[in-house]
Symmetry: C2
Subunit: 164 residues, 2 copies
DNA sequence: ATATTTTACTTGCAAAATGCAAGTTACTTG
DNA sequence: CAAGTAACTTGCATTTTGCAAGTAAAATAT
């Protein structure tokens, strides 16, 4: 049995629309950043998330980790070497959010002043499939090598407003 | 001049990461639903949004419309026929969120019990580009014909947890 | 062996965001 | 010209967030 997801009549959701349900699950300011940290920055532990750049407070972090775990997006497991440490990893449901993160990334890099170098963004756009495949490969191999660096502060203006 | 986006050193953002910035702009429970309503359901007015299924209260709706307009994602324009009515439409920056919404949709349809029929989701996945092209075409032509119906309540369990 | 750190959290409280109900103002329709 | 209707605003209660300061258990340093 491969954990069949229960088909409950969604008690906690506002509507049956998948977009709406996505937002019910991780539609806040922090959840996707935690997922990003695990997925592309190779972070695993509470304190790594805590010091990951954007100052999340510990109560909120604990709360979000709980929620993401309850939603089946991450799993917590004790570290082999340190009995205090807990490693959070993405489940299949969690790694499946890679395309969402990628599109979010590309959108903001195009339309907001971000810290992502234009040439880098160009690369991502041109090689969506390859990037996703590599992300997935690292997940399978539990390879914590960061796929991307943390982008610090805006280097320049967003790319021209060409659409499509 | 084609409205060059100012290259300010992002005063209101938590970090330079594009994902983080996206969340700063529309990372709440309602913004993307409004964008979805305009993009794929053909809704235009305040009262249409208000009665669009998931019960947003009017003060929040007004606030989100203001924010989305300030962010350059939507524009408000008076209706030609009715001087009271205001039509909200997506800007190029707004329609560029189509891939994000599509991936959110596909993710939830696969991993949560939603109201979207599996066969329909299959179609979407197989024809991402075509769907996006059609979405974009309707936006260009200001065609308010809904691309998708509102999905009511979960019909069955989410599709099997195959990844990739 | 004991003191200090480190890790993963809680707890308490103030501040901000959200939700609900009831206005309000400017049109438009009967 | 009275009664809608559209797009909000306002007040207030509830919930969520953020900040600072704990705490328990395990690891490390002396």
């Amino acid at each position: 049995m491969v954990s069949p997801v229960a088909a409950k009549p969604s008690p906690k959701h506002r509507s049956g629309c998948p977009v709406s349900i996505s937002l019910d699950v991780f539609g806040d300011r922090w959840s996707l950043l935690i997922i990003r940290d695990i997925m592309v920055r190779g972070l695993r532990t509470f304190s790594e998330f805590q010091h990951s750049g954007e100052k999340i407070s510990t109560n909120i972090l604990a709360d979000r980790l709980r929620h993401l775990e309850n939603a089946g997006i991450i799993v917590a497991e004790r570290a082999a070497d340190d009995a205090r440490s807990i490693h959070y990893r993405l489940t299949p449901k969690g790694i499946a959010l890679a395309p969402v993160l990628l599109e979010l990334f590309i959108w903001a890099a195009h339309h907001e002043p971000t810290g992502a170098p234009p040439a880098y963004v160009e690369q991502l756009e041109q090689n969506r499939e390859a990037i996703l495949a590599e992300t997935y490969r690292r997940w399978q191999h539990r390879d914590p090598t960061p796929l991307m660096p943390p982008f610090k502060s805006p280097t320049r203006s967003p790319k021209g407003n060409r659409n499509r």
